[in-house]
Subunit: 194 residues, 2 copies
Amino acid sequence: MKNQALTLLDTVERLGHLLRAGLRQAGTTNGLQPMHLQALLYLNEANRYSNTPQALAEYLGLTKGTVSQSLLLLARRRLIARHADEKDGRLVRLALTDKGKEVLKELGVGNAWRDALQQASPARLSSATKVLKEALAILQTKSGQKTFGVCVTCRHNLHIGPRSYVCGLTKEKLSSREVSKICREHSPIEENVA
Amino acid sequence: MKNQALTLLDTVERLGHLLRAGLRQAGTTNGLQPMHLQALLYLNEANRYSNTPQALAEYLGLTKGTVSQSLLLLARRRLIARHADEKDGRLVRLALTDKGKEVLKELGVGNAWRDALQQASPARLSSATKVLKEALAILQTKSGQKTFGVCVTCRHNLHIGPRSYVCGLTKEKLSSREVSKICREHSPIEENVA
DNA sequence: ACGCTACGTTTCGTGTCGATACTATTAATT
DNA sequence: AATTAATAGTATCGACACGAAACGTAGCGT
């Protein structure tokens, strides 16, 4: 047992491999690259502040030019729709088309995982999740990346009543559905400031 | 708390992103793609049965043609050495050059991780590792992939004395250093056959 | 009006990646 | 021994990812 952190790193790395290989295989059916599927998955979960090319680029850690190309391809195949924002002429809003949603459904991305983890005890599962989430948060802030969490775990999110939320950053009301979506401006609630 | 497995999946996915982004950034310094670094990392850990193009292709989940191209590039830059196997003329043995090892050292791949996980308690760390390893094994066998573990955890490995090992598959002696390397023929020891 | 910054696209060069076709060596069959 | 099959690797092609850099445009500041 030389270094626990490194064996965990290795395991996560291998899991990442598997996920990627799975995406690749799933994608070849539709002639899509892993990156395309990741984009679709992201857009399916992005809230109204985060459905733009720039946000996607930040999420994937790629340059905007690269992302622009891939979005062009996805639009060509009618998997996403693009239309300009009405308030801000610089922004392009991205949304999945029905066809795009269908592709995601057919993939059934998490299915293999659900099966694989069914044996594990929920307690240990949640413990593992917690460890990894902490690590993720540390690594993200350390590398200067945004965290891209859901509003529920965001310090800007204000729970002002039953099923009633407001984003302290934009002062806009958020539906209870929207607060479980990914936001580009997400800033995690700091709990253990010890 | 709708589905623990899926949130864990999500976290691992994001960690995979980060790892990949880190590799990409680290690689641009030397003009290398993530895949190249993964290849170098693999060759640094591969045992004598597994340092071939084919094994690398299986490890990365790519086709041999693709891998062949990347290896060509790495050889061009003198990061790896290629020479034919003496017994089997079809095989090409791959090895890191001194320059290749140096590149890996400069990267310091796991450093950020070590730091990020230093706060976590060892007990929870090992628990998380265990959960993920189980999931990994299940997913690997399910997707028909090889496990690529180290000999120590392989059912073929026989511990015949102090610091003395033999691979039951090839009947060859293995050094104590070699049994901690990655093997293509790895088959995990099944513990909980419950 | 002026620069300044942010968002997005375009272009270009390098490289990944799968598919296919090909060579060479070894193993299996007849 | 000769033929056939299987395995390891390479070569070529086309589609596309990716970063870098240049560009256009919209909003924001003085």
